[in-house]
Subunit: 340 residues, 2 copies
Amino acid sequence: MKGKATSFDIAHEAGVSQSTVSRALRDSPLVSIETRERIKAIAKELNYKVDKNASNLRQQQSSTLALLLFEDPTSDDSMINPFFLSMLGSITRATAKAGYDLLISFQQFSNDWHADFEDTHKADGIILLGYGDFLDYRDKLEKLEQQNTHFVRWGALEEHNPGVVVGSNNYQGGYNITNHLIDRGRKHFVFIGGADNHSPEFLARFNGFNDALSERGILKPGQTAKHWDAISTETSGYNVCKALLDSGEKVDAIVCASDLIAIGVLSAMKESSYNVPDDIAIVGYDDIPLARFTSPPLTTVKQNTILAGEILVETLIAKIEGRHAKNVLIDADVILRESS
Amino acid sequence: MKGKATSFDIAHEAGVSQSTVSRALRDSPLVSIETRERIKAIAKELNYKVDKNASNLRQQQSSTLALLLFEDPTSDDSMINPFFLSMLGSITRATAKAGYDLLISFQQFSNDWHADFEDTHKADGIILLGYGDFLDYRDKLEKLEQQNTHFVRWGALEEHNPGVVVGSNNYQGGYNITNHLIDRGRKHFVFIGGADNHSPEFLARFNGFNDALSERGILKPGQTAKHWDAISTETSGYNVCKALLDSGEKVDAIVCASDLIAIGVLSAMKESSYNVPDDIAIVGYDDIPLARFTSPPLTTVKQNTILAGEILVETLIAKIEGRHAKNVLIDADVILRESS
DNA sequence: CTGAAAGCGCTTACAG
DNA sequence: CTGAAAGCGCTTACAG
């Protein structure tokens, strides 16, 4: 036998037609059990595998999902946010469990990204993952929607979302962790991280933070909480924290928009000989695996990545199969550790 | 226009044959520049994309690489080794640059993994990534080789490797970082991590460690360095370090088989009030992004993941295209930080 | 430079 | 329960 075996080879070997082979391998009840078993045995022996290209072409679908992972081009080359990597792991597993393959593509926000996976029939649907400047790509999402491309996006729920969105309850997370700090007697709060509508997830965290401070009287009516801008990297957290300390701003609690920022902040604190949490409490957001191993271990808000990955995949498959798919908000839990 | 446009739609619109459309879109010099441009414009207008399934079927190839990422089933669910994630990032980028798509699949070592990506024509070749019990899957690799499946493996170079291997010079890394510690006056060494032929990469690091100690007279002839077994997770590093400290073993330098282990070790040191590096020097291996942010920052051996990803992809494509592909050993550099 | 035709390897409606 | 045939949307050898 030269080259790979085809269904015709099996048919020849089994003394049946090629149609019967195809039916048998797909477990069609139209074929008697005995013939089915016989054909399967021969297929196995010849190491036959259905050619996916032919099968997909004929069926006009691909049993493949595409994941577009957006990276912040401002961030460090090799440093992909561990939170997304953990999502990637759970999405991969959920995809496999559902019988689909997963095509992956990293995209730079800055680039003119193209989501032609579905147009080229390489994928039946697309998962969009990544923080980043929402406003920049809103147009593209709307175009995707117009083209009837199936896609789900991980992100913040807003009034008019193009497509379906699965996200974490960022407002609740920011709100709860701030209340925790207030309960511990903290008075002077600063939020470090992006907090405008370019990154709605961080903004929601900030809003929860702000509302908790207002409700508990830390903020006077009409006042807005203190906010220092940073992108979601350790380096940015480190630099901003240094600047914050230099500014002489009175602070005894810092709420960071992500764990990565918090790790940079902890590092700056140590360098400037501040004691965490005695002098200043630091909390993060995401609960990346390393949050347990910082010094001190980091209090943070856990995003349930395993659940999130499953829901993303489930939602996308629902769209592909034409079932109803709705937006989902996943609860975010505060994880108490020693940094607060 | 209902459904997606095909090359026949473009042909109709352009008043040429479908063959000419196909040629024009592939930039064949057989088609005049003017016709080419005209056809491309129409294709763009109709939002036409070549159907990959049809194109692949016809050409008997897929322009897709598959990445099998093996996870250690003993390790924490959500915690994928950051080193591999960083490799994943660089492999994704290198794959895209070479004009291929990337299919990803996570595999449990324990499972009966099947690499039928190439058999099903879903991928032209396979990249195997992950530490793990080499002996367990040696048979499978040999079977892959017999079936003429194109694959590259990330790992240790050994005498009789099935297939092509790209790896880091683990022996050199272990050797150099140990010499660094000896230069700093350390006398009592322990290696934490797996060091048998089930995980040849860790074993190579241990061998480099051992040989450096022998050459410098820290080990008497015939003696073997002290070695405590651990899997590559923070938790395992933490537990083993606790046991080591409890044992009363005299130690002033610990060489860890991975940064993850070292992070657990640092955490145990802190808890038991040892000062790093004054009491005990700790070094890791991998230089994961967080190594810079541990407390104290971790001295470690850098694996050049960007280069590694590029070489893996390059090597695999060489095999696919029938060119000569040889094993590659990448240099490993010691990164000095405060933990040693 | 262009077109008509074959064929990649399947799945499935149609006929028996 | 089974088979002959059409067709998914391309690419490319062949003929002009």
